[in-house]
Every structure is written in C-alpha cells, then in structure tokens.
C-alpha cells in the first residue's frame, strides 16, 4: 500500500512539460475522433502510432492513452447531440442523454457524461496503480511454460472480440499468429515465408499492418458506403446542475466505475458490455421521482459513461502485468509499446519502472484533464461534427500513408500498408473481425518464444513437463473453459435454428 501512495505522491515529478503537452493533444484529438461517427478511438490510436516512433516511451503512451481516454468519452458527445453514438460504447449513453438534449438539456447531459467519464477514469486509474504491480510481482516468478500458457490465455480472448462468430475470430487470431511468424526464426535464424526478401527478414512491420488493416480498409469501405453528415446545434456549455449529482448520487458513480474496472480486467468483454451492465444495475436502484430510463434519466447517463470510461484502467491491468490485451485498443497500445522496444508484461515492471510510473501518471492525469478539456472545447467539438465526411477521410488517408512512410522511410512499408488495407477491406466485406489479427500478431512472438523454450527445456516432453506445474495447468484449464463456453452457446442455437 505504501508503494501505492508513493506512486501517487510522485506524480508531479513524473511527467515533463512535453509529455503533458502530448497528453493534452491526445485527449483533445481523442475527444474529436471519438465524437466523429465512423472514425472512433481505435482508428485514432492506430493513426497516431507512426508519430510515436519519434517520442520517448512516456510521451508516446501519453499521446496514445490520451486518444484512448478522450475517444472513449467523445462518443458520448455525438450520442447526446445528434443521437448517433460516435463509438459503440456510447450506445447506452444515448438512451438517456439524447432525450435530455431533445428537451433542451443538452448542456446538462454533456456535463454529466463528462463528469462521469472523469470519475470512472480516475477510479479505474487508482485500481490500476494498486493492482497491476502486485499482479506483475506474482507473474515475474513465471517460467516459459507459464508465460506461454498466459499468452495462450490472451489468445483465447479472441473468441470474445469476434462479434458474431467466434470461429471467424479464431481464424483471424490464427492469421495474426501466422503473420507474426513471417521473418527470421527467433531461435535458429532460418527464414520463414520471406520469399527471399530482405525486407521481410525482420518480419512484417507493426505500423503498416495496423494502419492498413484499420485505416485504409475503413477509407475503402467509406468510399463504397459514405456516412451521412448530421446537422448539429452548438448551443452547449458546462452546467453547474450536473456537478450536484456528485453529492446526490455518489453510489452510482462508485458502483458503475467499479463494475467498469471489473469488466475491463476480464479479457475480451469490453466497454459496450460494461456500459449496458452498469445501465441495467442503475435501473435496479431507480428513484421513484426520476424520469424513466430511456427518457432522460440522470442515473442512466452516469452509469453508462462511468462504466465505459473505467473499462480502460481495468483493461490496462492484464496488459501491463501479464501482456494480455483484453480489448482491441489495448492490443494496439501494446503494439505502441513494442514500437518503443518495450515488451509489456511482468518484466516491464523490473526493466522499465519509469515507463510504468509514467503510464500510471498519464492515466490518472488524463482522466482528470478530460473534464476541463471536454467542457471547455465542447462547442468547438460539436461544430466539428458538421465537417463533411470526405474531408475527414482525406485527412485520415494522408496521415495514414505519410505517417507509415515516416517511421522507417521505407517505400515497401507503404506497399505493405496497401496490401493489408485490401486484405482488411475484403475481410470486412466477408464479415470477419479485424481486431483478433492484432491480438494474434502482438502475442505471437511472446507465445512462440516461450512455447519453444518450454519444448527445449522439456526435451519435447511437453505433457510431462507441464504436469508438474500447477499454475500452467490452472491456466490451461481456464483456456479450456474459455474455448468451450462459446461452443456450448453455439451448438444449442444451431439446434434451435434447425428445429421447426
């Protein structure tokens, strides 16, 4: 516990002015990106990755996490003002915030959402600081068998990230593992799937893969099916009434944040589920004098926003301590650390404690800064919602292509970007999820290295070796449960569908 308070006390000295500036830029950009329908925080974080190549690790994480936090909140702005959630996470916010806006209480709804996001973020940040180091201290004792088992556990989150079909998700996760296997073999140095190309010897670069899959494919998709621009009113400002809810409804803030953190820690569930579960929980505690849920209920907005913001801190716990990305954006953040030659996981707490402390400081300050940034610039952000979609997509295209090139000034990176853009577009058309590819790609090298080291130590006798390792066995049992649950869900649904 003393470490927890020491970490908090050291925050003012942890961030330099430049790092703070990147955090503010990240939050501002994130709020705008989150508010724009069709862009979203995932695409925002992906587009920012090439820029982080030139930054120190903490500045890089300040920018990326600022976009993550700002983007998670930004969706609530468009949900409130135009009735379209900028992000799927804001869908639950829309249910009550938009009716409030329609009744002329847009300022109250926006302030409430901002305040709830800020509190959810701060609470999840405090849990992150308290839990992640303890979990990492436990995980540091792991050998390669445990590390491989945990990487495999991370890969099973793919089923949950898949949306409709878990099978499609697993196929995409395996595709990510296969792409990660391209290049020189990490143990023997033999070339694998390189077609004799020196460029591919070092493996597929993360930045063109990410930007191509998410950004270029989205541009191609929007060229095919453009998103409509909405008329907006910019008559929104901060409302003092919303701040009174801190005294009137503190338990809703706490309960929703706690629920969000818990859901965030569980791999692959994410902000949408957290927001709706928290919304459902708030319905149980409805005050008789309050309007109905779905008709402008204050607790509905608080519950949804506090929970979906708290998910971010929860999701960072397994990523930092165990290298398990439980959410697509966190998988990209993990990639952002890898671009800086930092491997997330328990070793990071030993080898890069300054980056860990910086991430903690960035997260808490980011959640706090969300309040002034969100409220001061709300009019400007809402005005940006009127921008025609073509102008946004043009900027996305330009930043994606030039940003990718700038990382290593290698024209082959842009060809790789285009190739993954086309692959991503085709996969989207066939309704395959893209996020599992990233999870497979970032976890692939960790899994392969530890899996093969286990094989070498055990002289090929995997079963005999694992039988003596209770943690590995427990994790493998958990993996089995994660794999079987979707199967048990899938089979009865197929039988129901077949029965007349």
């Amino acid at each position: 516990m003393s470490d927890f308070f020491q970490t908090l006390a050291s925050f003012p000295s942890l961030l330099s002015g430049v790092q703070l500036m990147f955090l503010v830029i990240g939050i501002g950009a994130g709020v705008v990106i989150g508010a724009l329908p069709g862009v979203g925080p995932l695409l925002g974080v992906v587009m920012a990755i090439p820029f982080t190549f030139y930054m120190d690790p903490v500045s890089s994480m300040a920018l990326l996490m600022g976009i993550y936090q700002g983007g998670s909140y930004g969706g609530a702005l468009s949900a409130t003002v135009i009735g379209i959630p900028g992000t799927p996470m804001a869908a639950a916010t829309l249910l009550d915030a938009h009716p409030m806006a329609l009744r002329g209480r847009a300022s109250y709804a926006v302030t409430l959402a901002t305040l709830a996001s800020c509190i959810g973020g701060v609470i999840s940040g405090l849990v992150l600081i308290a839990v992640a180091p303890a979990l990492a201290a436990f995980a540091i004792k792991f050998g390669p068998a445990e590390a491989a088992a945990f990487a495999l556990l991370g890969l099973t989150t793919i089923g949950a990230l898949s949306g409709g079909s878990a099978l499609k998700g697993w196929m995409m996760g395996l595709l990510g593992l296969l792409i990660a296997a391209i290049g020189l073999d990490p143990v023997s140095g033999e070339s694998r799937f390189t077609f004799g190309s020196l460029y591919l010897d070092s493996g597929v670069a993360l930045v063109p893969l990410l930007v191509g899959l998410f950004s270029i494919s989205e541009i191609l998709r929007q060229i095919e099916k453009p998103i409509r621009v909405h008329d907006t009113s910019s008559n929104v400002s901060a409302s003092a009434d919303a701040f009174r809810t801190l005294i009137q409804r503190p338990f809703n803030y706490l309960r929703s944040s706690a629920l969000g953190v818990f859901i965030g820690i569980l791999p692959g569930i994410g902000g949408v589920t957290a927001a709706f579960l928290s919304y459902r929980a708030a319905m149980v505690f409805k005050k008789p004098s309050d309007p109905d849920f779905g008709d402008g209920n204050t607790d509905g907005v608080i519950a949804s926003e506090a929970a979906n913001s708290a998910v971010a801190g929860g999701a960072l716990i397994p990523m930092l301590a165990l290298a398990i990305p439980g959410d697509p954006i966190v998988a990209v953040l993990m990639g952002g650390l890898m671009v800086q030659a930092i491997q997330p996981g328990p070793g990071m707490f030993l080898n890069h404690p300054e980056v860990i402390d910086g991430i903690f400081a960035v997260f808490i300050l980011g959640a706090i800064l969300l309040l002034p940034i969100g409220l001061l610039f709300v009019r400007l952000i809402i005005r940006l919602l009127r921008l025609p979609q073509w102008s946004i997509m043009c900027v996305v295209l330009m930043v994606s292509v030039v940003g990718t090139y700038s990382v290593s000034r290698e024209i082959l990176d842009i060809w790789t970007l285009i190739a993954f853009g086309v692959v991503g577009y085709l996969l989207r058309k066939a309704d395959y999820p893209l996020a599992p590819i990233v999870v497979g790609f970032v976890l692939g090298p960790i899994f392969e290295k530890n899996f093969r080291r286990t094989g070498l130590i055990s002289q090929g006798d995997f079963v005999g070796f694992i039988a003596d390792r209770p943690i590995t066995l427990a994790v493998l049992a958990l993996i089995l449960v994660f794999l079987l649950v979707p199967l048990f869900r899938y089979l009865p649904s197929q039988i129901d569908r077949k029965s007349p």
């Binding site: 395996l174 033999e190 060229i223 095919e224 330009m398 700038s406 024209i411 094989g455």
Partner: protein
C-alpha cells in the same frame, strides 16, 4: 451472391491460403534433423498454427454450408469501381512518392480522394488538399524533425 455463398467462399479462400503456407513450410531449412528439432524447430510452430487453422477453416466451411441462403445487399458496381479507382490512385501515389516528392504527390492524392469520397465543392476540396498537406509537412519537418521525400523539388537537384 447470397450469404451462404459468401461464407463458403470466404472459408474456402482461407483454406487455400493455409494450404499454400503449408507448402511453404516444407521449404524452411532445418539446422538438424533430430526428433527434437522436428518438435520445436522453425517448421514445427508454423505447422501447428496452420494445422489449427485447417481445423477452424473446415469448421467455417461447415458453418457456411448450413448458413441460410439469405440475400445479401446488392453490390453496387459503381461504388466498387470507386474503390478500384481509390486503390489505383494509392498505387500510383506510392510509385511516384519518392521520385516526385511529397509536395507534388500528396496534395493531388488528397484532392482526388476528396472526389472519390463524393466531395461536391471543388474549392473546398482544393483548400483541404493544400492546407492539410502543408500542415502535415510542417508537423513532420519542424515538429518531428523528419524529412519527407523532396523529389524533383530538392534544392540540390534544382541548382
């Protein structure tokens, strides 16, 4: 194309890719030919992944087979043509980016992309193309200290 055809076609295409990569694994050299190398060597790991991919691919094929033949939204060929144009445009841009340089390739790319994204206002598209390209150039050149390709506008080539 109906939903069933799309699902079966997608799974079959992935299985063809898996088969191709499986063939490629036979070309990975083994440093030793011991049993341990076969289990933990450079071929083994990709083959395990490809083996699991084959199983999942076959399950997807089966899943596609039992999918109802619901009609999909009709493909609009003019929209697909726009996607094709966009790809051709990006490929042309990549081919010319280093030889011609940033300033001669990025603004035309953005301008053309604006039209593919159904921009109606010529002046606005031109302004966005020029303003956004210059802003990005300044960010990279002075903010991130990165020189983007100067191409034919490079000072040492002009003089």
């Amino acid at each position: 194309m109906n939903l069933q055809q799309r699902e079966v076609g997608g799974a079959a295409a992935l299985l063809v890719i898996v088969a191709f990569f499986f063939y490629l694994t036979s070309q990975i050299d083994l440093a030793f030919s011991s049993d341990l190398e076969k289990l933990t060597g450079p071929r083994a790991y990709p083959r395990i992944i490809l083996g699991v991919m084959t199983i999942v691919g076959l399950l997807l094929l089966f899943q596609g087979w039992v999918t109802p033949k619901d009609k999909l939204e009709k493909t609009n060929w003019s929209d697909l043509r726009a996607v094709g144009f966009a790809l051709a445009l990006i490929i042309l841009f990549v081919s010319l980016f280093e030889p011609l340089g940033y300033l001669l390739t990025v603004p035309p790319l953005v301008f053309a992309a604006a039209f593919l994204n159904r921009a109606q206002n010529l002046k606005a598209a031109l302004l966005v193309a020029i303003f956004a390209s210059l802003t990005l150039l300044i960010i990279f050149r002075y903010g991130l200290n990165t020189v983007l390709p100067e191409g034919v506008l490079a000072i040492d080539q002009v003089f």
